[in-house]
């Protein structure tokens, strides 16, 4: 069993699960991760960083991210945006609709023409959903009704395509309004009431981890055939040599470079993380993490198992 006083080899660090990683110091977890990430290896296509493939979506990456986010979120001075989102956790939904940057500009008025619903792909797929439900609840200004909406699955059906936007006679931005309400839902922990809402913990350590650790929302290994059997056998064949195929067309998989899959230098990542922090996102990520810890405890599973569970339910 690893402990805080014993040096840990990179190979051992990568193999540890949540319970073992929890016993390690920040230096062992964060320092070990960064040393692995930045270690170059031999390649026919320039400098390559082979450990990124092992680190992405690993228990080590999630534990490292938890520690970095907790520590940074607790630091002072608290950024203005973070203070706003911390306050929103305690405020009513109607306060959010009046004060949050997107929500307050997204919705002007409604003439009940129904064209948003007529054009909505999600309303065509999910029989129980249409965007008018969200509009009606917002127009009601009824706190109980709004809370009911935020605790339901309905909020998570929107595909964020914006098909409703150009045809709305009032130029409402329902896509933005729904996204904004989803954020509030997570800040309050109400997303746990919905199987689709709980998926946000999976999303946090998918896109959020890509962004925090690689400076991209989507990392090329997220499209691996194991997670995408729907992509078919030709994609699986392409994937067998994905790094070589990407490099062949001029991309930079886990390498220095300008295009797809490029590794960003630590100083660029640090700038990005400071932007994430100053933008208040750490209030959201800590809320999602706290909710996940509580829900995992109730279900009797550790956070690694919980992450896998919520990413496969629905």
């Amino acid at each position: 069993m690893p402990d805080r006083d014993r040096p840990i080899s990179p190979g051992e660090l990568c193999s540890l699960g949540y319970d073992a990683l929890r016993r390690l110091s920040d230096e062992q977890v964060v320092g070990g991760y960064e040393a692995l990430r930045d270690q170059p290896g031999p390649s026919a296509h320039g400098t390559v960083y082979p450990n990124i493939a092992r680190l992405h979506q690993s228990p080590l990456e999630r534990e490292k991210d938890r520690r970095e986010v907790w520590n940074r979120a607790a630091s002072t001075p608290v950024p203005e945006a973070q203070a706003f989102y911390e306050e929103a956790k305690r405020r009513p939904v109607t306060w959010w609709l009046q004060h949050q940057l997107v929500a307050k500009h997204a919705f002007k008025s409604c003439m009940y023409c129904g064209v948003c619903t007529a054009r909505c792909p999600a309303a065509q797929f999910y029989e129980e959903y249409n965007p008018r439900m969200v509009v009606d609840a917002v127009l009601s200004q009824d706190e109980e009704r709004l809370e009911g909406l935020l605790r339901s699955d309905l909020l998570w059906f929107c595909g964020q395509c914006g098909s409703c936007k150009p045809c709305c006679p009032r130029e409402n931005n329902l896509m933005g309004l729904i996204s904004s309400l989803r954020m509030l839902c997570q800040l309050k922990g109400w997303h746990l009431c919905s199987v689709r809402g709980r998926q946000q913990y999976f999303a946090r350590h998918l896109w959020g981890a890509n962004f925090w650790n690689r400076g991209c929302s989507l990392y090329f290994r997220n499209a691996a055939p194991e997670g995408h059997p729907d992509f078919g056998p030709r994609w699986a064949r392409y994937w067998r040599a994905v790094e070589a195929q990407m490099a062949r067309v001029g991309a930079s998989p886990d390498q220095d470079g300008l295009f797809g899959g490029r590794k960003l230098p630590p100083e660029t990542l640090e700038e990005l993380r400071a932007c994430v922090h100053h933008g208040g996102t750490l209030a959201l990520w800590t809320a999602v993490e706290e909710a996940a810890m509580a829900d995992a405890g109730r279900r009797g599973v550790d956070l690694d198992a919980y992450w896998t569970l919520v990413g496969s339910e629905g």
Binding site: A81, Q98, Q186, Q200, R204, Y238, F259, C275
Partner: protein, 356 residues
């Protein structure tokens, strides 16, 4: 809704319904890469640089030596509801600062959702008094950079559209059946976040967008209209990327394919990374689920340009990554290819010779 927003609502003049071609800058672009394009369709992104080079355009990204300073714009996280709008404003402002430091005030994004996010940030500054000053201060505190709003924000397909006739003159092949001389039938699928989020910044607007149709005309083909032309591909961010939700994506793709199939298109042309991926890849899933094999190849506008220019179908256009084989289309046009080189990297193949 607060009083300020109500004031804006009542007194704002009606927006234009489309972007005029003359509003697209012709040169001097900052090119921030796209996370999704680079991840799943890397040839499309690199071909943007190759096309800009071919057209003699000045473009730059930002790097220190070989190491990029460009992050993604946070669009997927924003539509995936796990970053605040303030974080997106700061992330985008940092990219704008990099562009400004390069002396470039025309931003051409590789991803349509990224274009929409950049435009949304710019619009938010117009709607929210004092926000620009606040973000400028936060950006200085976060990373020592300053807010500089670019003069123009366009998608790379806008730039190709603006130069479509110049490219047509250089094409080695055209969208024509080499045996019959008939123009090929092309379905254009414009990404939702290109035309629908800011119709006033889309060539032809939302309903009759011309950004891809214009390329089809200029390069010898005919655009085929069909009932579900404007329906979303179903990418949906959390819908396609979180596995239990993926039925939504498949259903949207099926709806489109069934609607276009009676018109017998030779090709689906796209300008959005998500559409380019899912309209192609989900044809396999649709086949598995329904037994229907539509077999309609899907290409992005830069993949198509690369092929018509005679660039290598595998080493440059990267068609070996496609789920629906493109080779039958190449046969119809008369573009040669060597299937033995499909998966074999050639050590003599060179990366594009652009700046940096």
């Amino acid at each position: 809704m607060d009083a300020r927003a109500a004031h804006t609502c009542l007194h704002q003049p009606r927006k234009p319904t489309e972007m005029r071609e003359e509003e697209i800058p012709t040169d001097r672009f900052f090119l921030p890469p796209s996370c999704i394009l680079g991840a799943v369709n890397p040839s499309t992104e690199v071909c943007i640089a190759r096309l800009y080079d071919l057209l003699g355009l000045t473009w730059r990204s930002a790097s220190v030596g070989p190491r990029s300073q460009c992050t993604c714009c946070s669009a997927i996280l924003s539509h995936g509801d796990i970053v605040t709008p303030e974080t997106t404003l700061l992330t985008v402002a940092r990219i704008w600062a990099l562009a400004h430091e390069q002396g470039l005030d025309h931003l051409s994004t590789a991803c349509v959702t990224s274009a929409a996010v950049h435009l949304e940030c710019r619009e938010t500054y117009e709607h929210e008094p004092g926000l620009a000053e606040k973000v400028d201060r936060w950006l200085q505190e976060a990373c020592g950079r300053r807010l500089h709003i670019p003069k123009a924000i366009v998608h790379c397909s806008d730039v190709v559209y603006r130069h479509r006739n110049a490219l047509a003159e250089r094409l080695r092949y055209r969208l024509v059946d080499r045996r019959t001389g008939a123009p090929l039938k092309v379905v254009d699928h414009v990404g939702c976040h290109y035309g629908k989020v800011f119709p006033e910044r889309a060539v032809g607007g939302a309903e009759d967008c011309d950004v891809l149709a214009g390329l089809v005309r200029a390069w010898g083909g005919v655009r085929v209209d069909y009932p579900e032309r404007n329906h979303c591909c179903g990418m949906g961010f959390r819908q396609c990327m979180i596995r239990p939700n993926r039925g939504y994506t498949m259903a949207c793709v099926l709806r489109k394919l069934e609607s276009m199939a009676p018109y017998e298109p030779d090709l689906i042309l796209t300008n959005c990374p998500g559409c380019n991926l899912f309209l192609d890849k989900e044809q396999h899933a649709v086949h598995e689920l329904t037994g229907k094999w539509f077999d309609i190849p899907v290409l992005s506008y830069t993949e198509l340009a690369a092929l018509l220019l005679g660039w290598d179908p595998y080493a440059v256009a990267g068609i070996q990554a496609k789920t629906v084989p493109v080779e039958p289309l190449l046969d119809r046009i008369g573009i040669p290819y060597d299937k033995d080189r499909m998966y074999v990297p050639d050590p003599t193949e060179k990366a594009p010779t652009h700046e940096h």
